[in-house]
């Protein structure tokens, strides 16, 4: 199907689905390159593929699925989407900080968690600066 056909909403959902499929394919390629059997690699990526297919199949039947695809149907669903993103970011930040503290306490390398905390913090600060001038 051409990406130029259909409504903007459908195009956005198709884009999301294609990104999910692309990430799944990349994961499969990475695992195969690392020597994993192809069946194992596909199995590990099946969640992403199922998620992408479900978005396309059910996005017109459910406002919830449409929102999960990053395409809220109206302003209230947009607010729900924004709050859900905020909740996910908060949980991510707590997990990253907790992971950093635990790894440090265990005397193990915690750079991955430090990087996550840094990215989340800079992302938030960048978002505040960006939206301060636009909202």
């Amino acid at each position: 199907m051409s990406m130029k056909s259909g409504s903007p909403r459908r195009r956005r959902v198709l884009s999301t689905a294609l990104v999910g499929l692309a990430i799944g394919m990349i994961l499969i390629a990475v695992e195969v390159k690392q020597g994993a059997p192809i069946s194992s690699a596909i199995g590990g990526s099946v969640i992403l593929v199922v998620y992408a297919v479900a978005l396309v199949a059910f996005q017109t039947r459910s406002e919830t699925i449409s929102t999960l695809a990053g395409n809220p149907v109206d302003e209230r669903w947009g607010l729900i989407h924004a709050r859900a993103l905020g909740t996910a970011a908060n949980i991510g930040a707590v997990v990253a900080i907790g992971g950093f503290v635990v790894m440090e306490a265990m005397g193990r390398d915690a750079w991955q968690f430090a990087l996550m905390v840094c990215v989340i913090g800079l992302g938030y600060a960048g978002g505040v600066v960006w939206y301060r001038r636009r909202l």
């Binding site: 149907v73 302003e75 209230r76 669903w77």
Partner: protein
């Protein structure tokens, strides 16, 4: 903040789905507005008022107890 959206809609024998279609929002959003769980944006509030032939302040009322 409370509103008369449900009364106005029922007076016109419209379902939530009918009103949602006219406003370009989901049925759940109409329900959330009617029950006061969601405050619509100013453009949507104007759209609702215009749909019922009323001013925004005739449809949405500030809770005087606050």
């Amino acid at each position: 903040m409370n509103n008369d959206v449900r009364k106005l809609r029922e007076d016109r024998a419209l379902s939530q789905g009918d009103l949602a279609k006219h406003l370009g929002v989901s049925r759940q959003t109409v329900n959330a507005i009617e029950t006061g769980r969601y405050l619509p944006s100013l453009p949507l509030a104007f759209l609702i008022g215009r749909f019922f032939g009323k001013a925004v302040e005739e449809v949405f009322h500030v809770d005087e107890e606050r």
